[in-house]
C-alpha cells in the first residue's frame, strides 16, 4: 500500500509486519521514531504478541535481545552512533552466539565532538563484529531490507544491521509502498531457531572456548557470511516475485555498461551521485555508479566484476579510518587487486556535512582526469584546519580545536572568547 510517510514510521510498520516478538527500545537520535512507533503499536494492541521493553541503555537493549532471541523469540532493536558503541560488547556477543537479531542502525556520526548528524562511522566501526550490514539507499529499500534481513538472519542464524542514513532517510517523508501482511507472511516464515533455551531439551549456550576451537568458531562465522553472499541475491529475487520490485541484493550498478569512471558509495548519497552522473552523462562523460548494499558480507567478486570494464574509480564514503583514509575504499581496492585500476578515495559528509551535486560534479571531473590525490577530503575547510595546525605548533595550550575553528570562522561571538 502506497503511503506518504516518514522513513522511520515506514520502517516501524515493516518491522511490525515481520511479527517481532520482543522489541527493546532505548532512545537515541535519529533512530528514536522507529521504536516510538513500534511502542505505540504494541501498546495499542496492534502488534501482538509482542513484548516492548523500555530498557535502561543500548547495552541492555542488545542484551535483552540476546536473551529473547536465545529463548526463541524474533527480536529487534534499533540504535545509532554512541548507542551502538555503548552496546558494542553485546553486539559482538550476539554475533558470536549466532543469534539472528535484526537491528536498525540509523547511521550517525560518533563523538567527540558530539554530533547527531549522519555519516557511516557508527556501523562501520562494527565492521568486524560478525554482524551482516545492509545499507539502504532509499526509505523504500529500508523497508524492504528489514523484511529480507529477518529472513536471511534466521536462515543463517546470524544477526543483521539494516543501516539507513540518519535524518536523511529516517526523518524524510516520502511515498513508500508498505507491503501487505500476507505478502510478508508468505516471504518470512515463523522463526525456527537453530538452538533455543528450552527446559524440555536443555543446552548450555555461551561456553568458554579455548585455543583448541576458537579459530574454528570464528571461521564458521566467516563461512556463514560467505553463504550469505550466495543467499542475498536469491532472497532478493524471491522478494521481487512476491513484492514486485527490485530491492536488496549485494550491489547495484547504474550507467555502468560503458563507464570509464565508476563512483562507488553506500546509502542515500547514491541518489545525489546518480543525479550528478545523469548530469555528467548528459555532458558526455562515461561515468557510472556502483552502489554497495551488502557491506558485510563484502561481495568482492561482484564488485570486481562490476568494475572490470572501467578505467578508474572513486569511492565516496561517509566514513574515515583515521590515520589511514577510507574504510569502504580499502575493501574495494581489495576487490580489484591486480587489475591495475586507478582508485581514489573521497571522504565526504562526515558529521552531516552536506554533499552537493556541485561538489560531486567537480570531484568526479577531477577523477576522470586522474588529478585526484589518493585520498580527498571533500569540502574540507583547509583554512580553518591549517590555522589550527599552525596554532598548535606555536602554542602548547592551544585550546579546543573545534571551538577554535568556529572562532576562526566567526561562528562564536567574541564575547565568549
Amino acid at each position: 500500500m502506497l503511503k506518504q510517510t516518514e522513513g522511520s514510521k515506514a520502517v516501524a510498520e515493516a518491522i511490525a509486519l515481520c511479527r517481532p516478538e520482543v522489541i527493546c527500545a532505548y532512545p537515541i537520535s535519529p533512530q528514536t521514531h522507529i521504536v516510538e512507533a513500534l511502542g505505540e503499536m504494541v501498546k495499542a494492541g496492534n502488534l501482538t504478541p509482542c513484548e516492548f521493553i523500555n530498557v535502561e541503555s543500548e547495552f541492555a537493549a542488545m542484551s535483552v535481545a540476546i536473551g529473547a532471541s536465545a529463548a526463541g523469540a524474533r527480536s529487534y532493536t534499533a540504535t545509532a552512533s554512541q548507542g551502538l558503541l555503548f552496546m558494542v560488547e553485546a553486539v559482538y556477543n550476539a554475533a558470536g552466539l549466532g543469534l539472528p537479531i535484526v537491528m536498525t542502525v540509523a547511521n550517525r556520526a560518533i563523538g567527540a565532538p558530539i554530533n547527531i548528524w549522519n555519516d557511516h562511522s557508527d556501523s562501520l566501526s562494527q565492521r568486524d563484529s560478525g554482524w551482516m550490514q545492509l545499507f539502504a539507499e532509499t526509505n523504500q529499500e529500508a523497508v524492504d531490507l528489514h523484511i529480507q534481513a529477518f529472513r536471511l538472519a534466521e536462515e543463517l542464524s546470524m544477526p543483521i544491521m539494516v543501516c539507513m542514513d540518519g535524518f536523511i532517510l529516517t526523518h524524510a517523508f516520502e511515498r513508500i509502498d508498505i507491503p501487505e501482511q500476507n505478502q510478508v507472511d508468505s516471504y518470512l516464515p515463523p522463526f525456527d531457531p537453530r538452538q533455543v533455551l528450552d527446559p524440555a531439551e536443555p543446552v548450555s549456550i555461551g561456553a568458554m572456548v579455548g585455543p583448541e576451537a576458537f579459530m574454528e568458531v570464528k571461521y564458521l562465522a566467516h563461512a556463514k557470511q560467505m553463504q550469505a553472499i550466495e543467499r542475498i541475491p536469491v532472497l532478493a529475487a524471491e522478494f521481487k516475485q512476491i513484492f514486485g520490485r527490485d530491492s536488496g541484493g549485494l550491489i547495484r550498478t547504474y550507467c555502468s555498461e560503458d563507464a570509464e569512471t565508476m563512483v562507488i558509495a553506500m546509502g542515500s548519497v547514491l541518489g545525489t551521485i546518480k543525479d550528478t552522473v545523469d548530469e555528467m552523462r548528459a555532458e558526455g562523460h562515461k561515468i557510472g555508479v556502483l552502489g554497495i548494499i551488502s557491506y558485510r558480507p563484502f561481495p568482492l567478486e561482484q564488485v570486481r566484476a562490476a568494475l572490470s570494464s572501467c578505467k578508474r574509480f572513486v569511492v565516496l564514503e561517509k566514513s574515515l579510518a583515521v590515520g589511514m583514509g577510507g574504510i569502504v575504499a580499502t575493501d574495494v581496492r581489495m576487490a580489484v587487486t591486480g587489475s591495475g585500476l586507478k582508485g581514489y578515495t573521497a571522504i565526504a559528509g562526515l558529521g552531516g556535512r552536506p554533499i552537493t551535486r556541485a561538489t560531486l560534479h567537480k570531484l568526479f571531473l577531477q577523477a576522470e582526469q586522474e588529478l585526484l590525490p589518493p585520498v580527498t577530503f571533500v569540502d574540507l575547510d583547509w583554512e580553518a584546519v591549517n590555522k589550527q595546525l599552525t596554532r598548535e605548533q606555536q602554542t602548547r595550550r592551544s585550546g579546543p580545536a573545534a571551538e577554535n575553528m568556529l572562532h576562526d570562522k566567526g561562528l562564536i561571538s567574541a564575547k565568549f572568547g
Binding site: V22, E56, S63, V64, A68, G72, L197, P199, P202, S204
Partner: protein, 333 residues
C-alpha cells in the same frame, strides 16, 4: 515471617536433611531426586562456596518450578568453571552472554517466555558480586525498576575471584585483595566504601529481596522457593565464602559463612516491597575476631604488627548490623 526453623527433632532444620521430619518438610538438597543442576566434574576450586551455593539455589528453583527453569549467567568463576568447551556442568537450559548483562539477558528470556505463552517457564539470572554489584549493576537496576519477571541470584564472595582476587564494591573494609594490598598505614580495603545491594534492591520496591548463606541451607531454600512463588523482579544475595580469595581452608567454607552470620558481619534477612519482613537471628553471638582471624585476607589485622583499631571498626560495623536488623533475640542481647 521469615524461615521458620523446625525447633527440635534432634537437628531440626540445621542439617541438610533430617530423617525424622515428614517427607514434605525435608529440604530439596536432601533428596535423592534433587536435580544437581550443576553436575560433577566442574572445575571449581576445592571447597568452592559458589559452586555449592549455585547448586543449592538452582536446585531449589528447579524444584519449585518443577524443572521449568532457564538460567542466564554472568561471566565469572561460576561461568568459567562450569562451561569450558567441550563440557558443561549445567543440567538446565543455560546461557552465558557477558559479564555485565545477565539481568538484561534474563529479561529477554522472560519476555520471550511471556510472548510465547510459556508462563510455566521461569527465569533466573545469576552472577558473582562483581558481575552484580559493579559491572552488571546498571542492567540489574533496570531489571528491578521494570519489575521484570526474573529472580536474580548474586553469589557474593566479596571480590573478583576469577581474575585473581581484586576488590569489588562488595569487598569488606580492611580486606586484602590484589588491588587493596595490606601495605601502608591503612592496609587492605578502605573503610567507608562499598555498596549494600540488597538495600538498594529494596529501594526499588521490588516484590522480594533476601540475603542467605551457604551455612543455612534450609533458610536459603525457603527464600529461593518463596521468591519463585512470586512474580516480578526478585533478588537474593547468597554469601559464598571463597577459600582461594579469602585464604581459608577448603573445609572451612561453611564455617566461614556461619561465622559471618553469627558475628553480625553478614545480616541475613528478607524483605518484601522494600520492607524487612524477616530476620535470621544470631544463634550464638561471637566477636568479629572469631570470623576474621581464620582468614588470611584479614591476617594483617592480627599479631604483633596488627591493627586492633581496625578490628574495633569492624566490630562496630557488625554491631550496627545487629542493631539495625535486630539480629539478636532480647535474651541474647
Amino acid at each position: 515471617m521469615g524461615f521458620q526453623p523446625v525447633k527440635f527433632y534432634q537437628t531440626g532444620t540445621f542439617t541438610i536433611g533430617n530423617r525424622l521430619l515428614e517427607p514434605d518438610e525435608r529440604s530439596v538438597q536432601s533428596g535423592q531426586a534433587r536435580s544437581n543442576s550443576i553436575n560433577s566434574g566442574h572445575r571449581a576450586c576445592q571447597g568452592c562456596g559458589e559452586a555449592l551455593g549455585a547448586r543449592y539455589a538452582i536446585d531449589a528453583a528447579m524444584a519449585e518450578s518443577k524443572g521449568q527453569l532457564i538460567a542466564a549467567n554472568a561471566t565469572g568463576c561460576l561461568e568459567v568453571f562450569s562451561t569450558p568447551y567441550p563440557e558443561s556442568s549445567w543440567q538446565l537450559p543455560w546461557i552465558h552472554s557477558l559479564f555485565g548483562n545477565a539481568p538484561a539477558v534474563a529479561t529477554g528470556i522472560a519476555a520471550a517466555m511471556k510472548v510465547k505463552g510459556k508462563t510455566e517457564v521461569r527465569v533466573v539470572a545469576q552472577g558473582g558480586d562483581g558481575g552484580t554489584t559493579d559491572i552488571g549493576f546498571g542492567c540489574l537496576s533496570g531489571m528491578f525498576e521494570r519489575n521484570d519477571d526474573v529472580l536474580y541470584l548474586c553469589y557474593d564472595n566479596q571480590a573478583y575471584m576469577n581474575t585473581g582476587v581484586q576488590r569489588s564494591s562488595a569487598t569488606p573494609p580492611a580486606a586484602r585483595t590484589a588491588t587493596t594490598m595490606p601495605v601502608g598505614p591503612n592496609p587492605g580495603n578502605a573503610f567507608g566504601q562499598g555498596k549494600n545491594v540488597p538495600e538498594i534492591a529494596m529501594a526499588h520496591g521490588i516484590p522480594y529481596v533476601a540475603t542467605a548463606t551457604v551455612a543455612d541451607l534450609r533458610d536459603l531454600e525457603y527464600k529461593v522457593r518463596r521468591a519463585m512463588k512470586m512474580h516480578g523482579a526478585r533478588y537474593i544475595q547468597i554469601f559464598v565464602p571463597c577459600p582461594l580469595g579469602w585464604g581459608t581452608a577448603s573445609s572451612d567454607t561453611i564455617r566461614m559463612a556461619r561465622l559471618a552470620k553469627e558475628s553480625g558481619m553478614f545480616p541475613v534477612f528478607e524483605a518484601e516491597h522494600g520492607e524487612v519482613v524477616g530476620v535470621s537471628k544470631i544463634r550464638h553471638k561471637i566477636p568479629v575476631e572469631e570470623y576474621l582471624q581464620p582468614q588470611k585476607r584479614f591476617a594483617h589485622l592480627f599479631g604483633t604488627n596488627g591493627h586492633p583499631e581496625m578490628v574495633t571498626r569492624m566490630q562496630a560495623i557488625a554491631d550496627r548490623n545487629i542493631r539495625k536488623y535486630g539480629l539478636l533475640d532480647e535474651e541474647g542481647c
